[in-house]
């Protein structure tokens, strides 16, 4: 097990550098005029253009220029310096500020998905074709059908502005309550998927041989469901949620925008809009690490859930 984890960690290092190279190359290729993008529609003075060009080596173009700038970036990265954004802020600081709030948001979303999704999924799976099952089917289809870009402003308007149950926006240092609404909105899509996955999985396992055996052995139904069925049904759900954690962190662009949370999604959006290569690469690199780690955790959890799976 230990060797397995170590091997995976070493692979991560390679994957990390591979992604930074690809992302850096993509940003480099797609870069138009970041200085004009920064200035908006104002004319840029020659002095300012010269200053920014020199500071960020924007005159290094072509293949040679790309490798020059990439290795320059990697060199400072290895020294723990993520570089500066075009407005002169340290990217390390931006990330330091953006990550905690995004992690909190993603965890709330994940908790919502797990608590409500898995529970309702189990109930729906046990009472298949009942009223509960059918109504959750309709509800989840509805949620899956509404994109966040519609759901988030709707939730904000009704729950935040009209009935004032939640604060309409969360801000940079939100308390748990302020993050609850954005967390629910963000988690609703995962909730729906987790619910449907759990339901199918539970329904299928309930018909399996070992359940029949357990039942004929005279085990209580509660014990059959909570120990045997649930554990076996969780494997696809855990796979899904592990990958979803990464998605929740990177994919919160819309939710973070609507609820004014200056997290990772927003900074990624800003980086892309202002063609801020180093900022985008910095964020994506950390996202890659999050994906890799959550995948590793999922793989390790498999072994916990299913004793037949062993890693050597």
């Amino acid at each position: 097990m230990f060797r397995y984890i170590l091997r995976r960690l070493l692979q991560m290092v390679l994957a990390f550098f591979g992604t930074t190279l690809i992302v850096y190359a993509l940003m480099f290729a797609g870069q138009g005029d970041p200085i004009q993008a920064l200035a908006g529609e104002r004319p840029v003075t020659a002095a300012q253009r010269a200053y920014l060009t020199e500071k960020y080596h924007l005159d290094a173009t072509g293949v040679g220029g790309f490798f020059y700038r990439y290795f320059d970036y990697i060199r400072s990265l290895l020294q723990g310096d993520l570089g500066q954004s075009l407005t002169g802020r340290k990217i390390g600081e931006i990330l330091q500020q953006a990550w905690p709030v995004t992690v909190k948001l993603a965890l709330i979303a994940l908790a919502v998905a797990v608590i409500f999704g898995v529970t309702a999924g189990v109930i729906a799976g046990i009472r298949r074709a009942g009223i509960f099952d059918n109504s959750t089917l309709v509800l989840t289809l509805l949620v899956l059908g509404i994109p966040t870009i519609v759901l988030a402003p709707l939730a904000q308007f009704f729950l935040g502005v009209k009935w004032q149950l939640f604060p309409p926006t969360a801000g940079a240092e939100p308390d748990f309550y302020a993050l609850l609404l954005p967390g629910i909105v963000l988690g609703s899509l995962s909730l729906a998927t987790a619910l449907r996955l759990t339901r199918t999985s539970v329904a299928e396992n309930l018909r399996s041989d070992y359940v029949r055996t357990a039942r004929s052995k005279g085990l209580l139904k509660r014990r059959i469901v909570s120990v045997h069925v649930l554990r076996n049904s969780l494997i696809p759900v855990v796979t899904f949620l592990g990958v979803e954690l990464g998605n929740l962190m990177s994919g919160a662009i819309i939710t973070e925008g609507v609820f004014n949370i200056p997290g990772v999604g927003f900074n990624l959006f800003r980086g892309i809009r202002t063609e801020d290569g180093p900022l985008v690469v910095g964020i994506v690199s950390v996202l890659v690490v999050v994906y890799l780690v959550s995948n590793l955790v999922v793989d390790v959890l498999y072994a916990v859930l299913d004793p037949r799976i062993r890693y050597e």
Binding site: T45, G171, P174
Partner: protein, 533 residues
Amino acid sequence: MRVRRLAAWTALPLAVTLGLAACGSGGDGGSGGSGSDTVSIQIAEPQHLVPTNTTETSGSQVVSGLFSPLVDYDAQNKPVEVAAESVTSTDNKAWTIKLKDGFTFHNGEKVTSDDYINAWNYGAYAPNGQGGSYFFEKIAGYEDLQGEHPKAKTMSGLKKLDDLTFQVTLSAPYIDFKTMLGYNAFYPLPDAAFSAPGVLKSDYEQAPIGQGPFKMKGTWQHDSKIEVERYDAYPLDKPKAKNIEFRIYQQLTAAYADLLADNLDVLPTIPTESLSTAQTDLGDRYQTSPMSSFQFLAFPTFDKDFQNPDVRKAISMAIDRDEITKSIFKNSQQPARSFVSPVLPGYRDNTAGAAGEFNPTEAKRLYQAAGGPAKITISYNGDGGHKDWVDATANQLKANLGVEVVGSAEPKFADLLNKVEKKQPVGMFRLGWVMDYPSMEDYLGPLYSTNGSSNYYGYSNKEFDRLVKEGSAAPTQEEAIKKYQQAEDILAKDMPVIPLRFGENVFGHSSKVKSVEMDLFQRVNLLKVEAAS
């Protein structure tokens, strides 16, 4: 087996609890309503807070509270002294600026003429890369501070006379210099801002020390907020509000939701999406006031299709401006039929004359007589919310001129400029302009002069250039305006651009504040705004 099971049953709840605990410890910033003596104002994340490097609205809003300008503008948008006692000149070339006594910086330093001279030299010195450096280019000696290795570090045109008086010599007479001094690039910097002469402390802009009515409370909290409080030693009329919180929003729609819930006090710009409902939502807390923005369509001179002025006039006549401002902008912008903004001294209505009037029959006749192109393209940047009105304009042209018209979106403004610079066929393209200071010259110079900084379309008329130059060198404002107006008449004849709309501040405030006023630069008047008791 047992260990495994234990791990499984403890891991999940533990993770959830940890997550929730982490959430709980976040503190209470941001979301709560502001206190009774604090006024919260929406801004976007400023790019910079060093006055000579502040060129966008959000940064300008913040520094306008931290600093007091030499001059401000009265109801007619003429300059009046604030931090200056007097700004005088006999020849419009050598200007003597006398400062009011009693101004101190927030750290207690007395404001002297050196503080202005140091700040301006810092701003003009090219290696400092200040965005507002072009404001100093009229001062004698500015050229010596340019290039990669400038010859000098200080401008020869700045001379200290005594602690409260200094002289600014321009390289050529300029009548509007006093007007120009209202811009935030001309604020002073305290000695405490510099770590060595000409070297700004790297953390100065995290908590700028100014001489204005408000001082920083803590530091600039990036992407979150900037808080300021009343500066008690401010020598002029004290502001009404005790504290102001500039709250940073990424999206106007989020700020608008907060405004509706009384969580935010002032929203300087109502988002376009909410314009149709804002009047009912806010009632008399929905307000408008004049500002300087100007939207127009430009014709690149390298495009042969549009070389005949009659073609350009015909296109202008075929656009129903009133209809577009009403249906698309819900009257939050005004139709434009002149080449400079109505907020300026010297503005006249309808200088475009007949070409500004909607007249489809005459437009079609003129267009055909002048041999206009059979297909017109209107290029615009797709990230600025321009699609609706460009499509509406294209439809009007299609119907009224009987030619094919298409709107073509470039991803970003920079891409559009890039194509224009490379002389690629873009057809007509949209541009906008917001003034730096209220003078006709600030429109005529950058937009229509041969070397104008925003004259991307290449319009050039020697007579026009001469008149603008004579105007800015004129001995009195009246004579200057006369020359500027003659220059504007040439534009009406040549029609290098089609004026479309003048902007307005469309803003709203919560029920917790009153006396909300906006200036021409989209900034809230921080001296007037106050909490409603």
